[in-house]
Subunit: 190 residues, 3 copies
Amino acid sequence: MHPFVTVIDWVAVAVFAISGALVASRKEMDIVGFGLIACMTGIGGGTLRDVLLDRPVFWTVDPTPMVICLVSALLVFFTAHIVDRRYPYLLWADAVGVAIYGVMGAELARLEGAGMLVSVVMGVMTATFGGLIRDVVCNETPLILRKEVYVTCAALAAATHVGLSAIGVPAVYAAGAGIALGFGLRALGI
Amino acid sequence: MHPFVTVIDWVAVAVFAISGALVASRKEMDIVGFGLIACMTGIGGGTLRDVLLDRPVFWTVDPTPMVICLVSALLVFFTAHIVDRRYPYLLWADAVGVAIYGVMGAELARLEGAGMLVSVVMGVMTATFGGLIRDVVCNETPLILRKEVYVTCAALAAATHVGLSAIGVPAVYAAGAGIALGFGLRALGI
Amino acid sequence: MHPFVTVIDWVAVAVFAISGALVASRKEMDIVGFGLIACMTGIGGGTLRDVLLDRPVFWTVDPTPMVICLVSALLVFFTAHIVDRRYPYLLWADAVGVAIYGVMGAELARLEGAGMLVSVVMGVMTATFGGLIRDVVCNETPLILRKEVYVTCAALAAATHVGLSAIGVPAVYAAGAGIALGFGLRALGI
């Protein structure tokens, strides 16, 4: 992958892992719970995407994303108690991650030869299923079922990228447009 | 696949998706929640089956079942509010789907060379795990743990099909007998 | 596999299946619920491990572990009502299973060529995700999020085995040391 894409991907992993760790903090879990929930949230969606596309699961090839999740969990574990109101951070972290993951998931599916609908679905799944797993495991009603905007943003980001790519726009512009639109829609609602 | 089998498969996808959308309706979700729960219920069991058998996941090859789920979700979204008592529909939709999926899952496992026990288990899994995912995600105690009859019907349908196929009965009769017995047992209990 | 390893594996499957069946008993499920929860708890972690490593799922190759789960469920179903206080049994069964599964999962990942971190993670996952699935499906807050010691023991068992194997200790001693340490740490906390 292009180094820029790799960095973008790592940022998305970190923000999702942080959103997971903040939920662990709200649930007053111990440090192992922080790490587990951070990993599930950060790499759960991409793991499902890779399993369904029958690609090698990304973190078994290069465990960097898992290390990022564990480090993020540690950071939140030792700093969350000084953050007074955590909820806004959770929202913004999710918004950034959802847009980036939506595009990344769709692009990986496209590279595997998937059609447009399946590519968009893989983008949505990559972006939202980490959070879904987080909420199901933490025994909460999943956020994506209460706040349709998450799924809509992921779908907008993924569909923009897939649509622009299909008419020949270079991947980096298509991805940029997708991330900007997905994040923009989410930002309007915060 | 034989066109008749394809149609049967699509009917089963639709009835399961509708049962998922009816739960989304009871939970007063928005349209995105309807679509997500309909997809999970309609294609979740078959997705798990394909992942475990290491087959290409069926809806990544041909996205028709996913389109059927989304259309079913839309239909229920715009018509569920005029249905007074929804519960009986949920039960009948599940009964038909369970029998068909039980046979389909077992047959696909058999074609992959699985033994008889594993084939029956795959049938049961195809038939019941969509509903299990639906209930787990919607934060309800899974129906299949409260109503053993679902699993029993799926197992009866799958075992009948696998057993008759093993003694040389042509697939279409074995499947018909399995679906009839599985549905019949369920119908007795409604 | 070496016959001794096979027997150890079967024992671990049985103790996990029993721990699942005891939860089904506490939840007053019927016999089908016993069987389902026993199977999910007994083979769920290893199933996820095999899917993520892209190995054939172990019980589709040889269904013995599934038979063990079903037999264990039957045994608990007919004997659990004479056991007065079930909770201690659940704890000890989990402790043995966690240590064994932690080592087994790590060893299988190592044989697939996974690095040390991924091998340890696979061990932890094999050891803890069956119980996680059990608790999520039964709609309880997962035990591994409340009792960090489970994950710590699995990680200790897996890391000991992976570390000793990396410096050339024969597999059987590395595994023995891992199981002993993992179980010992857990036993201290009971």
